[in-house]
């Protein structure tokens, strides 16, 4: 589904990504973790072309992201993405947030788009908020709407860029619950997160990054059991201590 092949990216002389390689099969859940500045957010933004990269190739569902001939908008419409800061559109009601891209990008009728949006809103448990605006919702609620908005495009896979990092601790669970539900339904997911509980529960594999490199790419059991690299061991011991 997603194939990352020898991808490198640099700003001037600063190497952000170095020779990254990874494969995500259909239905797999991949968790990407690593210290801040390790390039994990950049990597996931390269997958749908939000960040350009200089070398290598990323292929999503048979389409090359870096190819200048690729219609990136068309590709992105099929790839759902959820951001750290939710990024709902503040001037639109929740209903419009859910419907607008379906109408303008997929060409659905307003009626159909709103119907689909409200169904997904119900799924994330927020039917009562349909007429509100993003600024009137809590962070956790906003992030659940953001997930519903991404799902409203019927994506073939979902990218999550630290979806719980900007949330108060008590709101993390409500968002993770939605994500676990998605994973259990067989959605292909690539998730940048430090939520190791989530990783243990639903991830198939864990990718560990450091200084722009993929240091470790291992099945969940192997990663949490005995990570091969010393750097990953250090990282795990630090974040799992408490």
């Amino acid at each position: 589904m997603i194939s990352i092949r020898n991808v490198s990216k640099h700003y001037g002389s600063f190497q952000v990504l170095a020779d990254c390689r990874a494969e995500v099969e259909k239905g797999e859940v991949i968790v990407v973790c690593g210290p801040s500045g390790s390039g994990k957010s950049t990597l996931i933004k390269c997958v749908n072309g939000l960040e350009p990269f200089q070398d290598g190739e990323i292929v999503v569902n048979g389409i090359s992201v870096g190819d200048p001939k690729t219609d990136l908008s068309k590709l992105r419409a099929q790839v759902g993405m959820v951001f750290q800061n939710f990024e709902l559109f503040p001037h639109m009601s929740i209903t419009d947030n859910l419907a607008i891209a379906q109408i303008k990008v997929l060409g659905r009728s307003r009626e159909e788009a709103v119907g689909r949006g409200l169904k997904l809103l119900e799924r994330v448990g927020l039917s009562a908020q349909a007429e509100k605006f993003p600024g009137q919702l809590s962070g956790g609620q906003q992030q659940r709407v953001a997930i519903a908005r991404a799902l409203s495009m019927d994506p073939i896979c979902m990218l999550f860029d630290e979806p719980t990092s900007a949330l108060d601790p008590e709101m993390v669970k409500e968002v993770l619950d939605v994500m676990v539900g998605l994973a259990e339904e067989g959605m292909t997911m690539m998730v940048v997160t430090h939520e190791m509980g989530f990783a243990r529960r639903v991830a198939n594999r864990v990718i560990f990054m450091d200084q722009g490199r993929i240091v470790e790419d291992a099945a969940k059991e192997a990663f949490f059991g005995t990570p091969r690299s010393e750097r990953a061991q250090q990282f795990l011991s630090k974040i799992l201590q408490h």
Binding site: K74, Q78, M81, N85, H91
Partner: protein
């Protein structure tokens, strides 16, 4: 001080007898309104287009917009007006130049002042549109693109609606400036409000009455604009939104 107040002067007939001095003032007000409103439209359109171009990831387009701002912001308004009115018609291809010169003199003055004020203020609006767009979190653009919007759609549906809401207060002061700056057009002979005020002084030697009337009219105009812009701001306010963001 021996000044002879005479508020009745406004009702006196002008020398040609076709109207009263009040009629002159009203026709001046009309010209000021027409000039300022048409220039505002030019400024808003030009400023919006150029402001967007300043933020797009294309060096040529943003360069063109930056050049526009530099040129129109760095030359005094009065000099720009003289260039539009006296110099440019001579530089135009003779066909267009002559057509312009054959227009009614009043239309010539109006056209030059309108384009001048519009483009001058457009450069300032451009910078405000740019700062409005840049004040939005970067993630908003990403979110629009990630949903499959093209870049123009992302501007249309995501970035500009918020950017314009944010810049309503500075835009208000630009509109106020257009009305005030429109008085500059009197230097090329356009009989707008300030020019009519001066004309009235020339004919009646009642400067206080004349300029008190002009001053109050400008203040009233600006109060109306401010009121309208406040209503616009209140009407487009986003529920629950608290500025800036991350």
């Amino acid at each position: 001080m021996g000044y002879h107040w005479n508020w009745g002067v406004f009702l006196a007939r002008v020398p040609s007898g076709e109207t009263s001095y009040l009629g002159w003032m009203l026709s001046g007000l009309e010209t000021t309104l027409a000039l300022s409103l048409s220039a505002s439209i030019i400024a808003l359109v030009m400023g919006s287009v150029m402001g967007v171009l300043r933020t797009v990831p294309n060096r040529w387009l943003s360069g063109i917009a930056a050049l526009y701002v530099e040129v129109f912001r760095n030359i005094p308004l009065l000099v720009q007006l003289f260039i539009w009115y006296f110099v440019l018609p001579e530089l135009l291809p003779s066909g267009i130049g002559n057509a312009y010169k054959q227009m009614h003199p009043l239309l010539q003055q109006f056209a030059a002042a309108m384009v001048c004020l519009g483009l001058f203020t457009g450069a300032r609006v451009c910078e405000q549109v740019r700062s409005g767009i840049n004040s939005l979190p970067r993630g908003q653009k990403y979110a629009g693109l990630a949903l499959g919007f093209t870049l123009p759609q992302t501007y249309r549906y995501v970035l500009l609606p918020m950017a314009f809401r944010i810049i309503v207060p500075p835009l208000t002061s630009e509109f106020l400036n257009i009305f005030k700056n429109s008085a500059v057009a009197s230097t090329i002979g356009l009989l707008e409000l300030a020019a009519q005020g001066r004309q009235l002084v020339d004919y009646t030697a009642q400067p206080y009455e004349s300029f008190i009337a002009v001053t109050l009219t400008f203040m009233l105009l600006n109060a109306v604009i401010m009121g309208l812009m406040h209503r616009l701001e209140a009407k487009t306010r986003v529920p629950g939104y608290i500025g800036g963001g991350t």
